[in-house]
């Protein structure tokens, strides 16, 4: 069982959370201008590193806020969590 640190609520059990995929993706500023290939890349293609990965998490059963996390995909260890208006810790 993972203990995940919500930036607002502090450490909580993983059953209170939902996973939201890769963090830091930006919507194409001019979606009309991108090619089908670029659009498909934005919609469907995600990084899949072995090691630290920036992810979105949702504190679904708690404060119901989205936040970001850096998690090691090999060990499942949460390296850091941070609010959406904060920069990822170096």
């Amino acid at each position: 069982m993972l203990l995940i640190r919500c930036p607002w609520c502090g450490p909580r059990d993983e059953i209170e959370f939902r996973y939201g995929g890769q963090a830091g993706l930006t919507y194409p500023p001019d979606p009309e201008a991108v090619s089908d290939e670029e659009w498909a890349d934005y919609l469907f293609m995600r990084d899949n590193p072995k090691g630290p990965f920036r992810e979105r998490w949702f504190h679904a059963a708690g404060c119901r806020r989205w936040f970001n996390a850096v998690r090691d995909t090999a060990t499942h260890r949460f390296i850091s969590t941070y609010r959406l208006d904060e920069e990822p810790p170096a």
């Binding site: 609520c9 502090g10 450490p11 909580r12 059990d13 209170e16 059963a61 708690g62 404060c63 119901r64």
Partner: protein, 184 residues
């Protein structure tokens, strides 16, 4: 406003079971959800706690932190209209959302001495008195049901969705049965 004479709590028929788990029904608790920028908290008609997972209360009303820009205001039965009016007046000049959610949750108050032991069997929160003490509140899970817990001196009000109320009572009954004699 007066309570609708037809209003009936989903736990109305479970007084004996509530007594067994050391709880009592808090009938028709007024609940109003407030969302507003926390920089405006100072003009609220009730003190809005800014520290996450803490609550303010007096003899009649309570304000629970639900999120950085969201609070749940509690009051006596029939007070929802008055609370909504007070909030709408106070925040008339700023962006806000004020919604009567009184029918959204059923409230029971756990009053037994070992209530936190009981809850800890079905709740992932750390309910150790060193971190969970009077003045704290939290949104969390009781078994598979979402719940709001509020800690006060000698009592722990628990708010759950009406459709989960029977389930939560059954869950706590099962814990009570399985642990009877342990700390009871």
């Amino acid at each position: 406003m007066t309570a609708d004479a037809r209003a009936r709590s989903p736990l109305a028929a479970r007084a004996a079971d509530l007594a067994t788990i050391g709880a009592e029904l808090v009938p028709f608790l007024a609940q109003v959800d407030l969302r507003v920028d926390p920089t405006h908290a100072g003009i609220a008609p009730y003190p809005l706690p800014l520290e996450p997972n803490t609550a303010w209360h007096d003899d009649h009303y309570a304000a629970l932190w639900l999120g950085p820009d969201e609070w749940l205001i509690l009051g006596p039965a029939d007070a929802a209209g008055e609370i909504v009016a007070a909030l709408e007046t106070a925040f008339a000049d700023v962006d806000r959302s004020v919604v009567d959610v009184s029918a959204n949750r059923v409230a029971i108050a756990l009053t037994s001495e070992d209530r936190l032991d009981l809850l800890s069997h079905v709740c992932p929160l750390d309910l150790d008195p060193r971190v969970w003490s009077a003045g704290r509140c939290a949104q969390t899970m009781l078994g598979r049901a979402q719940a709001i817990l509020l800690e006060r001196a000698g009592t722990t009000p628990v708010l759950v969705r009406p459709s989960f109320a029977d389930y939560v009572v059954n869950l706590l009954l099962a814990v009570r049965g399985a642990t009877s004699g342990v700390g009871a």
